[in-house]
């Protein structure tokens, strides 16, 4: 009897929903999410670990060549998974102000 993923029914905290919304809006790494949401690093990064553990987001490293060209260390980017998008939709219904706090058109690269 395998456990079926119950993605759409996952109840997220407001913080986690805010981070998912920020990711959906295009803020794809930790520092940009901190800036967008105003949450401290001690909140954002652990929350992203839990979201990644629950397979709502996934991460990947930037190519070293890109970072070398810009003379900076490479950074880790995050993006929503299909389960994360479904959960975000459910969270938007639960927190109607979520989209107003971080509208998708504000997506930008910091």
């Amino acid at each position: 009897m395998a456990r079926e993923p119950q993605v759409s029914e996952t109840k997220l905290s407001h913080t986690a929903a805010l981070i998912l919304q920020a990711l959906d809006a295009g803020f794809v790494y930790g520092f940009s999410i901190m800036e967008m949401t105003g949450l401290p690093s001690g909140t954002v990064y652990p929350a992203m670990r839990r979201l990644e553990r629950d397979e709502l987001i996934r991460s990947h490293w930037e190519k070293q060549s890109i970072a070398d060209a810009e003379q900076r260390p490479p950074r880790k980017y995050y993006k929503l998974t299909a389960a994360g998008k479904a959960t975000l939709d459910a969270s938007r219904r639960r927190y109607p102000l979520l989209e107003r706090l971080i509208p998708s058109e504000e997506a930008k690269t910091v």
């Binding site: 790494y29 520092f31 690093s41 001690g42 839990r50 900076r72």
Partner: protein
């Protein structure tokens, strides 16, 4: 937003001063991240620190760019770095998830097998450490020379009374015999033995039963002398004694380097030549040590026993383990003697174990049902794979249990070096029987309470029904599989319509109740 706004507010005024301590601030921030990384598991630490250092670079660019930052900017960066500790703790907690997996093993088939394997390893390890067990398994022969008889006077019957004098023995040995092709003589005496010479105190003085025996006695019996020094010459040296097994264990702690030890026995000093098993043939008189002497040295002392080996013609004269012997004595008189067969009465540990196991299997139905209780309420067909798993698990449990019983019984019987060999045999027999009996009872009971789907033990027993309504309605105990696969119904009182336990297989509609503890069915 907060960080950018703080940068735009232009609070940093002492840029020149900042140039001086900026390297120290960078060092502090990297140090904070390094310290935090110590909280992260080793295999994840490198990637974790890489991400945080990458982020730190960007935070510093935003908050404290080179030459333009101030105290406030550095404080922002420091606050960012302090957040790394919370993230590291979060990672650490996430790394403990496998422990929860161990917790979910509770009651699982693997947990049961692991516990049994651990007990087996412990009992085997103890058996290897105990010198008594090692000696029993490796030192002593299981078979001695066949067709041996103990010759004694007919008047003494089966009582252990020495009745053969050395002169008689010598005369038999000198003559050509038709029924015997080998003789050995021994007589037992009590001797004071002073172990103080090797222990350095007077506490070591004791009395031993010492057998003065022919030099060929062990060759005739087929018993090996262990720990003897093969290259040692005895010419012109101290007389040698061979220790019995019990004394070797009791007085010398089963020390394999016992050969060569010198002690005082009676009025003379003697040297230990080796160790032989005792009690194996049931020879009369308690013998703690053997002193081997040539026939000429036996003189005309007190009576003793003669051990003889039968020729094929002598074997033909044996009747009911006895043979009557008539010997022509001096002055044409005749002595009537009796030869009693010496047989190995002590079986090997493996033989004893098999016998006790057989007895336990016979007794098992008397204390528990041998049914595995696989009847089900609903017409659920168990797949062949699951049946195979179930039977494999049962077989593994039985094999491990029997191996544990074998080693534990050896530990109990032969671990205590002070326990005589005769007692050790009974200890092994009884302990093996009891452990096999109650162990197999546990195996069957445990198997009956394993979910047929996931092999976990059913839990949360709940009593259902009333005892007064036993014959009208269901009355018994209901237990559930925490994997959400089955319910087990055990009747309190077997009835004609509900005589044995039954499994109720749950369908998928029950899954939501067990969402937190659902286990993958094998």
């Amino acid at each position: 937003m907060r960080l950018f706004s703080s940068w735009k507010s232009g609070k940093w005024k002492s840029r020149a001063a900042h140039w001086r301590w900026e390297p120290a601030a960078r060092l502090l921030h990297v140090g904070l991240l390094r310290c935090a990384s110590l909280l992260v598991q080793g295999d994840r630490r490198a990637e974790w620190i890489r991400e945080w250092r990458g982020e730190l670079w960007h935070v510093r660019q935003a908050c404290a760019p080179l030459g333009r930052a101030g105290w406030s900017g550095e404080l922002e960066v420091t606050q960012f770095c302090l957040g790394a500790f919370q993230d590291a703790l979060c990672m650490r907690r996430a790394g403990r998830q496998p422990r929860q997996t161990v917790a979910t093993m509770e009651g699982s088939a693997w947990q049961c097998i692991l516990i049994l394997v651990a007990i087996l390893a412990a009992s085997d390890g103890i058996a290897l450490l105990l010198t008594g067990v090692r000696a029993e398994l490796s030192l002593w022969p299981r078979e001695v020379t066949p067709n041996l008889v103990l010759i004694q006077g007919q008047g003494s019957n089966f009582d252990s009374q020495p009745s053969i004098y050395p002169q008689q023995f010598k005369s038999w040995k000198e003559r050509k015999q038709k029924y015997f092709d080998g003789f050995a003589f021994y007589r037992a005496t009590r001797e004071n033995v002073e172990l103080g010479s090797l222990r350095g105190d007077r506490q070591g003085e004791t009395t031993w039963g010492v057998a003065h025996a022919s030099t060929n006695i062990f060759a005739l019996l087929g018993l090996p002398v262990r720990f003897a020094e093969p290259d040692r010459s005895t010419d012109g040296e101290l007389p040698e004694i061979v220790l019995g097994e019990a004394v070797w264990k009791r007085q010398f702690g089963a020390d394999p380097r016992v050969a060569g030890v010198v002690m005082r026995m009676g009025t003379q000093m003697v040297r230990v030549a080796g160790v032989v098993p005792d009690g194996s043939l049931g020879l009369p008189d308690k013998v703690d040590a053997w002193m081997l002497e040539p026939d000429a040295a036996m003189g005309t002392g007190s009576a003793g026993y003669v051990i003889a080996h039968l020729t094929p013609m002598g074997q033909a004269e044996m009747w009911a383990s006895c043979v009557n012997i008539t010997v022509n004595g001096p002055n044409e008189s005749q002595d009537y003697l009796m030869g009693i067969a010496l047989e190995e009465w002590r079986p090997a540990p493996g033989t004893l174990y098999g016998f006790a196991l057989f007895l336990a299997l016979l007794a098992l139905p008397a204390i528990t049902s041998v049914s595995l209780g696989e009847a089900s309420v609903n017409p659920q067909k168990t797949s062949w794979g699951r049946r195979l798993n179930r039977w494999s698990f049962l077989s593994a449990k039985i094999v491990l249990l029997l191996a544990i019983v074998y080693f534990v019984s050896l530990d109990l019987a032969y671990g205590l070096t002070g326990l005589g060999r005769e007692r050790a045999v009974y200890v092994q027999l009884i302990s093996t029987f009891l452990m096999c009996l109650f162990g197999l009872q546990w195996v069957l009971k445990d198997q009956r309470q394993r979910c047929p789907v996931c092999m976990r033990c059913v839990t949360h027993p709940a009593h259902v029904g009333q005892a007064s309504r036993t014959f009208l309605d269901w009355n018994g105990t209901e237990m559930m599989c925490m994997g959400g696969h089955t319910l087990l119904h055990v009747p309190s009182l077997p009835t004609s319509w509900f005589s044995t336990q039954r499994w109720l297989y749950l369908d998928t509609s029950w899954e939501f109740l067990f969402a937190g503890s659902t286990q993958q069915a094998p």
